[in-house]
Amino acid sequence: MSEITIEAVPERSADPNAPLLEVTDYRVGFKTERGLAKAVDGVTFRLARGRTLGIVGESGSGKSVLNRSIMGLVVSSNQIEEGSITFDGTEIVDTDRQPFWGNRMSMIFQDPMTSLNPVMKVGKQIGEPLKLHLGMDKKQARERATELLTQVGIPEPTRRLDQYPHELSGGMRQRVMIAIALAGEPDFLVADEPTTALDVTVQKYILDLLGELQRDREMAMTLITHDLGVARGRTDDLLVMYGGRVMEQAPTEVLFSAMRHPYSEALLESIPTLDHPKHTRLNPIPGSPPDIVSPPPGCRFAPRCRYAQDRCATDLPELVSDGNHHYACFYPVGTEAGAEALQTNIERGQTAVGLRVSAEGRLG
C-alpha cells in the first residue's frame, strides 16, 4: 500500500447547484485488428448531486464501458477517448482520474464474489481506502470500518471485520463492497449491476440501502442495470443504450409513460410479468446486438426493429428532443409516423430489412 501515493485531492466546487457531472459527446473506442470498435459513440448527459441516472441496455450495449471510462478505469494504449467530461467543474477526459477515486468518485461492481480480495480480511479491505484517502491510522480505520458495516446493516460488525470474504454470503459481500465504496464519502458513485447476482429479497434490501445512503449524503449515482423493473423504481433519469449509442433519454417517469424508441419498447415487451396468464407467448427481440467495429449503416437497431423502413437502413438517426425527452428514431413509438411505419410493415408482411411481421404487428 505504501507504494501508492495520492496527490492532493481536487477541491470541491463552491456552487452546489452546478451539475456534478457533465458528459458531452463522449466517445470511447478500442483499436482492434479489424478496425476501431466504437464502444461508446456520442453520449451526452448531466447528473446533479443527489440524483440517480439509470443506464439500461443489453450485454454489449456499452453501458459498462461508458461508466468505467468515466471513472478512468479503462486504461489501455488501445483505447481512444474523445469528447468532454467535467466533474465538479474540472475537465477530466485524458487526465489521470486516480486522485478522484475514493472520496470524490467510487464504484461498486456486479460480482461481489470476485471483487473482494479473497486472502484479505474484510476489515483490512474496508480500512485500506480510509488510510489511503483520509489519512487515518490503523485504529481509527478499524473504528470507522465498524461504523460502516453497521451502516450497511451487517450484524455483529466487529466479528465480521476479522473474517474473510468466503465466510460471508453473497448479499453480505455486496454490502461489504458498498461499505468500501462509501468509505471515503464520495460525491459520485457508479453502481454497475450491483444486485444482478443476488436474490430478490436481498436485492430489495441493497437497493433500499443505496437509496437511503444516497439521500443522506446528496450523492450522485449512475445505476447500470438490465432490469427495467429496477430502473423504473430506483432512478430519476434513464439512458437507454444500444450498440454504443443513446437510443432514448428522459426522466424515468416520462420514459415509461411516453416511450418513444422501438428498442425501449422491445426491451419492455420481452420480459414476462406477473399479470400475464401462465404460458403467455413472450415477444423476444430477434437477432443479436450489432457489430460495433463495422456497424450496419443507418440505425443500429434497424435489423431487429419491427418499425424499420427503407430510410432506417441507410440514414443514422440523430437524437431529437421533445422538451427533456430525447430519442434517436425516425418512426417513434406513439407517434403518427411510427403507427404508419408499423402499418406499412404489417401490410407487406415484413420490415424494410426483411424481418417477418405478423398481422398483429409482432415480429417472426
Binding site: 436474490d199 429479497t201 423493473g229 406477473l274 413472450l282
Partner: protein, 334 residues
C-alpha cells in the same frame, strides 16, 4: 415453513414423476450435517410444467439433482412411471437416464469447449442410438433446426456462439435422446431479457413438439409464473407453498411467498403486496431452526411456530396447499 406432509400429492394415473419425503444431507466437517433438502414431496403429471422457486440455498437445485440420482438422495422415494429410481442400481439406472435429461444455468460452461457442437449434440445418440438402435446426421440436423441453430454451423465450437445460442445447443443435446422429462436448472438466468424470451418461447415450443414434462427451476418469479402450470415455493430445504400458478400468485398464503412477491421490482407494477420486509439472514442449513424453518424471519411467528413444524394443508377448494400455522388470507390485486 418447515413443510412436510403430502396432502398435495395427487392420486392420478397421469402422474409421471412422484417424489415423496425426499431428504438430501451432506457431511460438513467432522460432526456437522448440511440439511439441504428435508422431506420435500411433489408430483408432476405427464405434460405438466412444475416450477420450483426459492432463493439461493433453499435446496431447489439439490432437489432436481436428487431426482436424477446425482447424487442419490439420503432417503425418500423418486417414482418415475411407478419405478423407484432411488432403488435402481448400475445398469438399470443407466437404462433409465435417457428418459430424464437436464439443461443447466451457465450455457457456455456446460458445453465442452473443444468439441464441435455437432458432436456435443450427437454424443448421447452415439451411445444409445435411437429407438431402433441407429441414428444418422439427419436427426442431428433436425434437432438443430428445431432449436434454431443453422446446421451449417455444426462444425463450429461453443466459443463461436453467443450465450443464447449455447443454451439452444444445450437444449438440442438434452432432446437428442427423446426424453420424457426435461429438468431446467435456471436455464435463462444468465441471459439478456431479449434472449431470455427467445429461450423461454423455444422451451414451450419443444414441450409441445416433443411432448415433454418440465421441472423448471428459477429464482425469478415472473419467469416461473410464465412457464409453469403448478409452482412449489421452497425455503431452507422445505416446501412452503404449492399450488396452481395463477392461484398461487393471486392469493399467496405463506408469508415467505408474499415477501418474495413484494420484493420483485416490476417495470409495470401490477401486483400490490405490502408484506413488509423480511428481516435478517437465511439461517444455516447445518443448524436449521426448530419448528417452522422460516420462524427467524417471519413477521407472523408466535410460540407454536418455534415448536411445531407446520404440515402442508389445503386452503380453500382450489389446488393450493400451504405449510404455515398462520397463513395470510388477503387476495392481492392483479
Amino acid at each position: 415453513m418447515a413443510g412436510t406432509g403430502s396432502a398435495h400429492l395427487r392420486d392420478d394415473p397421469n402422474v409421471l414423476l412422484r417424489v415423496e419425503d425426499l431428504v438430501v444431507e451432506f457431511k460438513a466437517g467432522r460432526k456437522g450435517t448440511v440439511h439441504a433438502v428435508s422431506g420435500v414431496s411433489f408430483d408432476v403429471m405427464d405434460g405438466e410444467t412444475l416450477g420450483l422457486v426459492g432463493e439461493s440455498g433453499c435446496g431447489k437445485s439439490t432437489t432436481a439433482k436428487a431426482v436424477i440420482q446425482i447424487p442419490a438422495p439420503t432417503s425418500g422415494e423418486v417414482l418415475y412411471n411407478g419405478t423407484d429410481l432411488a432403488a435402481l442400481k448400475g445398469e438399470d439406472m443407466r437404462r433409465m437416464r435417457p428418459e430424464i435429461q437436464m439443461i443447466f444455468q451457465d450455457p457456455i460452461s456446460s458445453l465442452n469447449p473443444r468439441r464441435k457442437i455437432r458432436d456435443v449434440i450427437s454424443e448421447g445418440l452415439a451411445v444409445w442410438g435411437d429407438a431402433h438402435g441407429t441414428w444418422s446426421q439427419d436427426r442431428i440436423e433436425e434437432l438443430m433446426i428445431a432449436v434454431g441453430i443453422d446446421p451449417k454451423y455444426g462444425d463450429r465450437r461453443p466459443h463461436q456462439f453467443s450465450g443464447g445460442q449455447c443454451q439452444r445447443i444445450g437444449i438440442a443435446r438434452a432432446l437428442a435422446l427423446d426424453p420424457k422429462v426435461l429438468i431446467c436448472d435456471e436455464p435463462v438466468s444468465a441471459l439478456d431479457v431479449s434472449v431470455q424470451a427467445q429461450v423461454l418461447n423455444l422451451l414451450e415450443d419443444m414441450k409441445t413438439r416433443y411432448g415433454l414434462t418440465l421441472l423448471f427451476i428459477s429464482h425469478d418469479l415472473s419467469v416461473v409464473k410464465n412457464v409453469s402450470d403448478r409452482i412449489i415455493v421452497m425455503y431452507l430445504g422445505k416446501a412452503a407453498e404449492i399450488g396452481d400458478a395463477e392461484e398461487l400468485y393471486h392469493r399467496p398464503r405463506h408469508p415467505y411467498t408474499r415477501a418474495l412477491l413484494a420484493s420483485i421490482p416490476e417495470p409495470a407494477p401490477t401486483v400490490d403486496v405490502h408484506e413488509g420486509d423480511i428481516a435478517g439472514e437465511l439461517p444455516s442449513p447445518i443448524n436449521p431452526p426448530d419448528g417452522c424453518r422460516f420462524n427467524t424471519r417471519c413477521p407472523h411467528a408466535d410460540d407454536i411456530c418455534f415448536t411445531d413444524e407446520p404440515i402442508m394443508t389445503q386452503v380453500g377448494d382450489a389446488d393450493h396447499f400451504v405449510a404455515c400455522h398462520h397463513p395470510v388470507d388477503v387476495t392481492i390485486r392483479t
